[in-house]
Symmetry: C2
DNA sequence: GGGAAATTTCAAAGCGCTTTGACAACCAAC
DNA sequence: GTTGGTTGTCAAAGCGCTTTGAAATTTCCC
């Protein structure tokens, strides 16, 4: 069933039917009723491709999903998607997800943009000096960046959390508890959030004249295995750290396993603060020793970005171009005073 | 840049350029080279919406993502998506994800199908007597069902794991270890896999003249909280079960917390077998007591379904219509002989 | 050199929708 | 009875691509 058939059925022109459906005022209410009734009976749905071709609007948000055979799927991605979905469902928007090798994201994003399949782009997994920024600017399509790109002028629309502030605050807390030997378990070094978190730690330490040893930093994929490995390394250091900052509760999961296996007690021998993206599976309060965390909901960020993107596409009022969300620092049992010097 | 402009630039007709790009034989190799070169220089990409309108092919797979504000996002979904992605990226396919309230999936699926946005559908979260099956049959669009629909004639294309067999085998193992008091921690009762798993347990028990008490069954969302709650209930039963079958490692996570909190030892006081979807975050071997599991990779299933769907759309050879994957039963430390009767 | 066959290119139609600009039809007002 | 303003409807153009059927060009063989 298409417009032509429907309009013939009704003895109306395509124009009138189209207008009736799209809420234009210049159509008789009685006629509109008839049309709506016929739509109900026939189950007619406009062909999206045609609609898109005619209007240029697609009703969809595009994003790139990094994936590759063997590439471990990322829990954070799923959670973020849930946030996008939660908002999109309210506006009858959907997503187009372009899977892409993680090293090919620029090209994938460009393909997606010029495919005409989407009205707006969402971009994540930002890197330092990210090449996608200039690319996006050259496109004339709305986009919102989740995160920022360290080293690029922040003159693009983004939503980020205050990564530096979060880790600065977390470090300060540990300093106040008397810790002096720190380690940072971070995400991959090229990613923006990792850079900023590291800076936060370093600047808090610097205020006390402390530095972060190269040995006491790990940059790795945010999986529990990597957390385990990194912590094992830290624990074998001659003068092992007592305070650990951890970029994700996923890493913390492995890290804590290592702590337990070494026969140490979390919150006593080792204090640990992790960043909590509010993943449904990893509630910090459910850990055997509840985790002190910096918290910011990834899902909420997803929903907000969807809101901004959809709003922009629908031209529903102006949105702030740049948002920086504060994180909460929530103290639980995994942090305690530094153990007495032996 | 569109086809018209490009062809003018080259001094060729749109037809020739289009043919050159789509690999038709009736175009001079030299001409094709020129066209390809120009494409490279101009960065021309065909407008997908137009292509779709003209060909009816979209190069995309559609799926419905259940979501709602407050609806906990499902790790399993993300993992499955990763599998789809892994395969799709190889064929330059992408997905269209339609978020939908979990109670509105039939309608969402129908909208997606007739939107003209997708070539094929993937359908999951199957229920008993699922109304989507007849709907899909009436559509003339390829689809593959992940799972099956208990109560419907299995005459539709699906990929499922042998849920009944898996839980039958797992139950048998526990029976052989001498257990007589069983409990089943299952997913929501209306879902197909939950029905089949329950049947597997019941029929294995029946062979020994045992039954599964209503008290010893829980049907709930597969979250760790629910696992915790269910296990707490089981442990308070007057004659508490010693053998637990668990539909997901996510549930097991909570269940084990409850076991620990009760001061019981997993693998001694309580034996537990969980179904393992091979989620990146929940490796059964990483649990403090490694988990005995029935295993089947969700991601692999996703990849396979993508393969079948894409193959069908591209008409690349026939695929089996129905696949039933066996699960592996992997014995680790969470199962042991039944404790002596007190 | 002429005619048939093969090769290469083209103009135009069509995919299903929206939107522009024009046109009836009706009523009110002068 | 003309003008003027609504109101409701329509035919036709256009979005950017593919594909059909025909035309132009080249190649081949006798």
């Amino acid at each position: 069933m298409n417009l032509k058939q429907l309009s013939q059925l009704l003895g109306l022109s395509q124009t009138t039917v189209s207008r009736a459906l799209n809420g234009y005022p210049e159509v008789n209410e009685a006629t509109r009723e008839r049309v709506l009734q016929a739509v109900k009976e026939t189950g007619y749905r406009p062909n999206k491709a045609a609609q898109r071709l005619a209007t240029g609007k697609a009703g969809s948000i595009g994003l790139v999903m990094p994936t590759a055979p063997g590439h471990q799927s990322d829990v954070h991605f799923g959670e973020f998607l849930a946030g996008l979905g939660e908002e999109s469902v309210r506006h009858d928007f959907h997503f187009v997800i372009m899977p892409s090798d993680p090293d090919d994201e620029v090209a994938a994003l460009r393909r997606l943009a010029i495919s005409g399949n989407v009205d707006a782009l969402f971009v994540a997994y930002m890197r330092g000096h990210d090449p996608r920024i200039p690319m996006l600017k050259s496109l004339s399509m709305p986009y919102v960046v989740h995160g920022r790109s360290f080293g690029s002028e922040p003159d693009y629309p983004f939503l980020d959390i205050d990564n530096e502030g979060a880790f600065y605050d977390a470090t300060r807390l540990l300093l106040q508890l008397g810790h002096t030997r720190f380690a940072l378990m971070n995400g991959p070094m090229h990613l923006d959030f990792a850079i900023r978190r590291k800076n936060g730690v370093i600047s808090a330490l610097a205020e006390r004249g402390l530095t972060l040893d190269e040995d006491c930093m790990s940059h790795a994929l945010m999986t529990d295995e990597q957390g385990l490995l990194a912590m094992e390394r830290f624990l074998q250091l001659p003068n092992r750290p007592t305070a650990i900052l951890c970029s994700s509760t996923v890493l913390a999961l492995g890290a804590i396993r290592a702590v337990n296996q070494a026969g140490l007690r979390l919150g006593e021998d080792i204090s640990l603060i992790a960043h909590d993206d509010v993943l449904p599976l990893l509630k910090p309060e459910s850990f055997s020793v509840p985790l002190t965390t910096t918290r910011s909901s990834l899902r909420a960020a997803g929903a907000r970005i969807a809101q901004r993107l959809i709003g922009t596409v629908k031209q529903a009022g102006p949105f702030p171009d740049q948002e920086l969300w504060k994180t909460e620092l929530i103290v639980r049992a995994s942090t305690g005073p530094a153990p007495q010097q032996l």
